[in-house]
């Protein structure tokens, strides 16, 4: 029975790990898309996800290269995450 007055032990320095003889599932490959003239995030989202309103997924994944989601430029390469 633990002594309630005793301070709790510290496990903050514990290091855990794991490995397996089983293979790991393949990582889903991230696709990319090069923006063409006339594209919009909604149009790209519709093409990849079937829904234009998924444009935010692409926007969030490419925030570093999209300053304004209404302004994208031909030649920009966007990551298209799996949803």
């Amino acid at each position: 029975m633990p002594d309630p007055n005793k301070p709790l032990p510290d496990f903050s320095d514990v290091q855990g790990g794991s490995s397996s003889t089983a293979p790991q599932p393949p990582q889903p490959q991230e696709r990319t898309y090069t923006v063409q003239k006339g594209d919009s995030l909604s149009k790209i989202a519709k093409a990849f996800y079937g829904k234009a309103n998924k444009w935010k997924v692409i926007y969030e994944a490419n925030k570093d290269s999209i300053k304004n989601p209404d302004l994208i430029y031909p030649g920009q390469v966007f990551r298209i995450p799996q949803v």
Partner: protein
């Protein structure tokens, strides 16, 4: 007489043809879903990820290994090892995602650069969010 032989031969061919037509292609063997077969604790593991010697009492400076044997297959299964101390404190929690195509050994381990507090510990193993077993052990 000659006619009889012909009839018999024709009948035999017909029967064989019908039997051949009825013979179905054996379905591929069903793949059993992944299950946890055993959990063993030890101080060392071999290259096959099995503990060299199963034990439930450890020293304060030991690295503690848990070898989880699974059978069956899965395209993706999540194994979690949650280690807790007798006070209920979580010592460590490690998750491993595997895609076994048959029997497999997954090892989890914990180590501590400073001595383990003596007392009772429990290792709980979870498979895809379901508790599938636990092992109590002691550090002396």
């Amino acid at each position: 007489m000659h006619n009889h032989s012909l009839h018999r031969a024709a009948a035999a061919v017909l029967v064989l043809s019908v039997l051949a037509a009825c013979k179905k292609t054996a379905p591929p063997p069903a793949q059993a879903p992944i299950t946890v077969a055993s959990v063993d604790l030890g101080r060392q593991i071999g290259p096959d990820n099995r503990v060299v010697q199963s034990m439930t009492t450890f020293g304060v400076n030991d690295t503690i290994y848990a070898s989880v044997a699974t059978t069956g297959t899965a395209s993706s299964a999540v194994l979690t090892a949650k280690w807790t101390y007798q006070t209920g404190q979580t010592v460590d929690s490690t998750t491993m995602t595997i895609a076994p195509t048959g029997p497999a050994q997954t090892e989890f381990h914990i180590m501590k650069p400073t001595p383990w507090p003596v007392g009772g510990y429990v290792l709980a193993i979870w498979l895809d969010g379901q508790s599938v077993g636990q092992k109590a052990f002691e550090v002396k």
